[in-house]
């Protein structure tokens, strides 16, 4: 791989131990994937933040790395943590877990990383532009950045995103290159998609069907950003798609000659919804996977205003979005109905099992996948108006 003289100095350890180790990680990855050189990036998003995910092994690594002098060179922020930093006691997160989680956040903060813990950085002001290179590591954010914004990122792991943040560049391979941003699975959508849950179900179906291929959708007339974020999240969770195109909607549209063609119609939609959703009474209604936009919080607030909910309701979101919801009065309406607007974390990475929860309802294809695995029981799946009842 071709390295600049500065990169060579970093690799030789002349810019400190943290830079040396980061450079060693990046050049090993570059070697594995055949990168010709490194490409400068404008932001990094580091996953592996929840104590539930990384445990003591990850915590120790982050503390060692911070102590070795690791400092980020570019704007860097975090994936959701295992709890809301401000409301964890109210939300009954176990104290032992909270202690470890705070230690993890403190190690990141020593490295100069922003304490923004979200999978929707693009909703709180971090919006890379078309063609911009970044190193993000939360699968739904990667999908949104590549597909909806046209920015360029591979699926980074926690340590590789952190190494990229410390160095300011990432190996130039995969989705950083034009030649790999080409669809080879053409999906003809032949059913009107009604709500967020239909987009999540289509994402789940195509995620499974794509088997590593890049999908391109035709036949979708309109799709809000909220629905696209649901689609991409679900595709990444049920498969591994890190980029997709949608005719007339995404900024890029490149389809290979001879791409495989499949149809997504009413039959596929209803079969997938059947596969994803179970019945029965849930003990949490979880909204906000990926993190809810202000508009989605408003929708929930309008639904529950003046009611008293019998089931626990969590609307998960980024802290900045929650602050906007506080100001707009949505948080109060949701709280008065007995629900919570929860920041910094989500239903997938917080220790729900330790909190005595055994069955969930959700409107997200991604959450449906993970919560079904977590509880060994199908979620109740539907749009906000279907799953949020009195």
């Amino acid at each position: 791989m071709e390295l600049t003289s500065e990169q060579q100095l970093m690799l030789n350890g002349e810019r400190g131990e943290a830079a040396r180790q980061s450079m060693e990680i990046l050049s090993a990855l570059g070697k594995i994937y055949g990168a010709a050189d490194m490409v400068p990036i404008t932001s990094a998003q580091v996953a592996g933040v929840s104590y539930k995910t990384i445990g003591d092994a990850g915590l120790e690594y982050l503390q060692d790395f911070a102590a070795a002098g690791a400092r980020v060179r570019i704007p860097t922020f975090l994936n959701p943590a295992g709890m809301d930093r401000e409301q964890w006691q109210t939300l009954k997160v176990p104290a032992a877990f909270a202690k470890k989680q705070l230690e993890i956040l403190s190690a990141f903060s020593k490295m100069g990383i922003s304490s923004t813990c979200t999978c929707t950085p693009y909703l709180v002001g971090i919006r890379p532009k078309l063609g911009e290179h970044i190193a993000w590591s939360e699968s739904s954010a990667i999908s949104f950045a590549n597909s909806v914004l046209g920015a360029r990122t591979n699926r980074e792991g926690g340590p590789s995103a952190l190494a990229a943040a410390v160095c300011g560049f990432t190996p130039n391979y995969g989705l950083h290159l034009d030649e790999n941003r080409v669809a080879n699975l053409l999906v003809k959508v032949e059913v009107p998609l009604k709500g967020t849950s239909d987009f999540g179900a289509m994402g789940a179906y195509i995620g499974e069907a794509a088997k590593g291929k890049v999908p391109a959708f035709t036949g979708v007339k309109a799709a809000s950003e909220d629905r696209l974020k649901s689609l991409g999240a679900s595709m990444a969770a049920w498969g591994s798609a890190a980029i997709y195109f949608m005719k007339g909607i995404t900024p890029e549209w490149n389809v290979a000659q001879g791409a495989e063609e499949i149809t997504f119609g009413a039959r596929e939609l209803s079969a997938m919804r059947e596969k994803m959703g179970g019945a029965g009474k849930s003990d949490i209604i979880a909204i906000g996977c990926p993190h809810a936009s202000l508009q989605e919080i408003e929708e929930v607030a309008a639904r529950v205003k003046g009611k008293k909910l019998k089931t626990k309701l969590w609307v998960c979101t980024a802290r900045k979005t929650k602050e906007a919801a506080d100001k707009a009065g949505f948080t109060r309406e949701i709280e008065q109905a007995g629900g919570n607007v929860v920041a910094d974390t989500c239903m997938v990475v917080c220790p729900l099992e330790e909190m005595g929860i055994t069955h969930a309802a959700c409107n997200s294809g991604k959450a449906a996948k993970y919560l079904t695995n977590m509880f060994k029981k199908k979620v109740v799946y539907g749009d906000v108006e279907d799953i949020v009842c009195e």
């Binding site: 060693e24 594995i32 092994a57 926690g158």
Partner: protein
């Protein structure tokens, strides 16, 4: 016999080879305190990786596996070196942060020639492996 491979993680070490026919998931598959493989049904289930030159096709499973390699190292239960048929990021990153010498893609069919119990020296800085018996 000294053979050429790719340098993945720097440093050099020598030890007895422990060969796995299957990929290894360190997260959930190896106990970080003891170094014992606990993955049910794995060909090396019950064996301890500590002090060995661990030879396996590739990593698999959660990316948290990288951190488990570091924990093993801190607990003195890590392999002394790693040889993969073809490296992937979980093991490569884990070896680098734990400072375990590692090479992959040995020339010819050298990878297949490494047998359990053989003494092997790994030089991750120059990307070579020496099969001693």
């Amino acid at each position: 016999m000294r053979v050429k491979g790719r340098e993945i993680s720097k440093g050099s070490a020598e030890g007895e080879a422990m060969v796995s026919a299957d990929a290894i998931s360190f997260f959930g598959g190896v106990d970080p305190k003891t170094g014992i493989i606990v993955d049910k049904g794995h060909p090396l289930e019950g064996k301890c990786v500590a002090g060995k030159v661990l030879v396996f096709p590739r990593g698999k499973g959660s990316t948290v596996g990288s951190y488990v390699l570091l924990q093993l190292k801190k607990n003195n239960r890590a392999p002394v070196a790693i040889i993969n048929e073809e490296a992937e990021p979980i093991i490569a990153v884990g070896a680098i942060i734990a400072r375990i010498p590692m090479v992959d893609k040995l020339e010819g069919n050298s990878y297949a020639k490494i047998k359990d119990g053989m003494r092997v020296a790994v030089d991750g800085t120059n990307g070579t492996a020496e099969l001693k018996e």
